[in-house]
């Protein structure tokens, strides 16, 4: 099945499915609504538990407002639900703790993740947030593959990795911005140290 044919439905764009399956309605933070089948929802542990806890009937799904997922935008959520629909009914892999994880990226997933890096990272966050184990695996594998065969210098460019010095400077700047009083206390302490006294003890 191609990415374009994946059965995620934008309510305002496509018709409501005729099958008598249960379709849940979800709303992204930019107010886009999606209908997702019950079987596809099972790929997401978070959403599955959520809909189970809510105990919706098919009437409730139609009458009550869509379930809002306020942390994820429509673009990312569409990718997530496309993935879930394509992989619905598949077994959820169990993490055996082995490193490195051996994951093959299927063709559909590779096409689905042929997106810009910003969106890819959002997809990873969403997969982790919604607890979709296999989507998290393939998306992390994709990011890991981007670094394959790179030297440390090249990695810094690919991932915008901060060096230790930059990390320290950023931490210091953040601390200073957060608490100006702490800086004053530190300066005072440094001054006393320079004078030779140790008034704290």
């Amino acid at each position: 099945m191609s990415v374009e044919n994946a059965p995620v439905v934008d309510v305002d764009e496509a018709a409501i499915p005729v099958e008598k399956k249960m379709y849940y309605r979800f709303e992204s933070n930019d107010k886009k609504e999606f209908r997702v089948s019950e079987l596809a929802i099972q790929q997401s542990e978070t959403l599955n538990r959520l809909v189970e806890a809510m105990g919706y009937t098919s009437e409730d799904v139609e009458n009550k407002p869509a379930i809002a997922i306020e942390n994820i935008d429509g673009k990312t959520l569409k990718l997530v639900f496309q993935w879930c629909e394509h992989h619905k009914g598949e077994a959820i892999p169990v993490d055996d703790g082995s490193v490195p994880k051996i994951v093959e990226i299927p063709e559909f997933d590779a096409k689905l993740m042929d997106i810009d890096n910003g969106l890819l990272f959002k997809l990873i966050w969403a997969a982790d947030y919604l607890n979709i184990v296999q989507l998290l695996n393939v998306s992390c594998k994709k990011v890991a593959n981007m670094a394959q065969g790179k030297t440390p210098a090249q990695l810094r460019r690919v991932y915008l990795l901060p060096s230790d010095e930059e990390d320290e400077a950023a931490k210091r700047a953040a601390q200073e911005a957060q608490d100006p009083r702490a800086r004053e206390v530190e300066e005072e302490f440094e001054e006393r140290k320079r004078q030779g006294g140790n008034s704290f003890f």
């Binding site: 809002a68 942390n71 490193v99 490195p100 982790d128 670094a147």
Partner: protein, 366 residues
């Protein structure tokens, strides 16, 4: 009310800023630690090694994992050494170091590839001598958080770096890595001065077969019970394997083996050879064999009129055929665990080490 509850459940994991709109290239620094760890879990050994050199935090992330390498192979000769790390059948790192002289200066040429044949490599030159580069290379598999399941050695020359590495990690009695299975691929390890090294198995496979392109491969083997002089540590079974192409049917092969019953080869493995019930009955009738069944294996016991001391067991299963010469009173041997075709069976043995030996010896099935 319900909406608030849903939000409560969903916002437990990450702060909202994580999902803020962000454009531009990947930014590692904004990723939560858990996510970084998740990505590192999927990275190969080379990427992890590069990443741990980027910053202290990345080093901590990489070092926080216990990494198990299924198969590592070290080769050495006078002017070259190589290290191959197989994390899976597809994640392979092979580094080949060659000593070269450029204008009276010794340099080392490094070739890095991602396949067992060492093809499509990237090459660069280092100003240090081979031993220095080799020592730093072995550092990759020397971290405390790395364990190796199978270490395959093909040592023909005593490079100090390799001897030191093996001495520290695998010396008899107190080596911390004794869970590792050490398999040698040649008998030259005694020249490599590793007399302290306990060896679980020595698997010598002759590479004299020239026509690999056609026919079914047969492995003829003999197991030796010898210890090389001066080797102080434990030494396991030594087996010599001679691959050849089976260009006849099973009946003709059995006839050939019966004809040379006194020959030195004791075992004949033909992985993947399917023998139907009708063919088995035909063989039993032709060689006047006694047929017995051991689990999933049919055993044809054939005695030759000319040789009263030995007989032939032909073991047939869905995995293939094994032929064994045995004493007249000897019972057919079956392994307690696993398949009778051992590492040659691609159906039963899915391990990376067996896959490596099968692939390098052109045994079909993978």
């Amino acid at each position: 009310m319900l909406r608030r509850r849903i939000q409560e459940i969903l916002s437990r994991k990450f702060p909202r800023w994580v999902f803020d709109d962000r454009t531009g290239p990947l930014d590692w620094s904004v990723l939560p630690m858990e996510m970084k760890r998740e990505i590192v879990k999927h990275a190969d050994i080379r990427t992890r090694h590069s990443l741990r050199q980027c910053s202290h935090q990345d080093k901590q992330i990489v070092d926080s994992f216990k990494i198990s390498l299924p198969f590592v192979r070290i080769e050495s000769d006078h002017n070259y050494a190589s290290l191959m790390i197989c994390e899976s059948r597809t994640q392979i790192l092979k580094v080949l170091l060659t000593r070269k002289k450029f204008r009276f200066r010794r340099k080392t040429v490094v070739q890095i590839s991602d396949n067992i044949a060492g093809e499509k490599y990237e090459e660069f030159c280092k100003n240090e001598d081979l031993d220095v580069v080799l020592q730093s290379l072995l550092g990759i598999i020397s971290w405390i958080n790395i364990t190796i399941d199978t270490l395959n050695l093909d040592l023909k020359y005593p490079h100090d770096a390799i001897t030191k590495y093996l001495d520290i990690h695998y010396r008899q009695c107190f080596g911390p890595r004794r869970k590792t299975r050490v398999i040698c691929s040649s008998m030259e390890f005694s020249c490599a001065q590793v007399h302290f090294l306990p060896i679980d198995e020595t698997r010598i496979i002759s590479d004299l077969v020239t026509n690999w392109q056609s026919g079914r491969l047969m492995m003829a083997g003999k197991k030796y019970n010898i210890v090389p002089m001066g080797h102080f540590a434990e030494i396991g079974q030594i087996a010599f394997w001679k691959p050849s192409l089976l260009e006849c049917n099973l009946g003709a092969l059995i006839s050939g083996i019966l004809w040379k019953m006194a020959g030195e080869m004791v075992y004949y493995y033909i992985p993947g050879l399917e023998v139907t019930e009708a063919e088995q009955q035909e063989l039993a009738r032709r060689f006047e064999a006694v047929v017995r069944r051991h689990g999933v294996v049919n055993v044809l016991s054939i005695t030759d009129g000319a040789d009263v001391e030995r007989k032939l067991y032909v073991k047939i299963s869905t995995c293939g055929v094994q032929i064994q010469k045995a004493g007249i009173d000897e019972d057919p041997r079956f392994p307690k665990e696993g398949c009778m075709l051992d590492w040659m069976c691609s159906k039963c043995d899915k391990s990376v080490k067996s896959w490596y030996f099968r692939t390098t010896n052109r045994i079909k099935g993978d």
